[in-house]
Symmetry: C2
Subunit: 223 residues, 2 copies
């Protein structure tokens, strides 16, 4: 690898990590705005999406520039293709954080509904998955990536518990059906964010081992 | 462009169109299974996801092979990068069709809930958007792509109407809260499929005009 390509790839990696940190913060703030009925915080997440989109466009442009300039092959090419896919997943996560903030904003004006306590655990798990998936990418660590994929099962269990609790609330209080639906949507958005973190982890396994696990759950069991 | 690269790009385009046709069929069947409470049809969509995933993996591999083999630059490179992004969007759409079919399967066993008539209109719009977005890509037609983006507004209006109708049902019949939530989820999944079709249309505009409209709605108004 030439020195120039190496330094471009390092810069690309730094930019994608910085994007991931912004996305992680957006997720935390979006859930906090939901829990605290903080309209201002929700608005912050919504307007904060614009700079995140710019970060994401920059990473995409960088990928294309490196491809055009250095015409990398083999493992470098795969690495750039992986950044390209990670970038798309991070963008979707940021969009989902905005979706959560929009639900929070709509709930802030209506009747208060109890937010299930488990949502905090689910949020902590999800943001850890995002961080660990990116770490696995930086260190090319397929084992760490497999751990991220397995964490998704606990997120799914939290999701089911929370939704059962919301259904219970809606049954008892038909007046809470609308905020209940918003809370339900927000929970599903968070679950989908964890799915995107899983996508990234699966892409890392593919990058390291050349094995496509994205649609082959059995490949996760191998270790 | 060499003859070899040209024929590889043509093949890639054919494969992505064939993937899109499979995805479109999955969306139709998923919604039909929801409307007719047809568990078998829902299962067909769920098991049909595996061959769609294989198609998607093949397109991804083809993109990487063309990049490595031909090291294309400029417009060819952008075209391949666009196929790569379209492929990701189609894969997510197929996953969302499976999500809808899973909701349909869970609803088939429970109490019957009236499926809002508007859902058919929303489905027709969404599958048209998928087809037209791919056509716009094949013909490099930015105007047609802009039309797809605008169709998303009508999908969003359908979505709001359907959800209001579901809320009304749930208020009247607390026993229908669970199937109501499933129907709500399915509608949101369909709306998200239309968002992915919009993503594709936006990527086509970028490919043709070099202008990023993905996060700049004002750029859609220019014509």
């Amino acid at each position: 690898m030439t020195k120039h390509l190496e330094s471009d790839l390092d810069q690309l990696q730094r930019d994608v990590l910085s994007l991931a940190a912004s996305v992680e913060e957006a997720i935390y703030k979006a859930i906090e705005s939901l829990q605290t009925r903080d309209l201002e915080l929700a608005q912050q997440v919504i307007t904060g999406d614009e700079p995140i989109d710019q970060q994401e466009n920059r990473v995409e442009e960088e990928c294309l520039k490196i491809l055009a300039l250095h015409q990398p092959v083999a493992s470098d090419l795969r690495r750039i293709a992986t950044v390209f896919m990670i970038n798309t997943d991070l963008e979707r996560m940021a969009d989902l954080a905005v979706d959560i903030a929009e639900r929070a904003a709509s709930m802030a004006g209506g009747p208060a509904i109890k937010v299930p306590a488990k949502l905090q655990r689910m949020t902590d798990l999800t943001t850890t998955m995002v961080r660990d998936a990116l770490d696995a990418f930086v260190h090319l660590d397929a084992d760490a990536a497999r751990t991220v994929c397995r964490m998704d099962d606990e997120v799914d269990r939290c999701n089911v518990e929370i939704i059962q609790e919301i259904i219970g609330i809606m049954r008892l209080s038909p007046d809470l059906i609308e905020p209940g639906l918003s809370l339900f949507s927000a929970t599903r958005h968070l679950e989908r964010i964890a799915d995107h973190a899983t996508n990234i982890a699966e892409d890392v396994i593919y990058l390291v081992e050349g094995e496509i696990v994205r649609h082959h759950p059995e490949a996760l069991q191998k270790r």
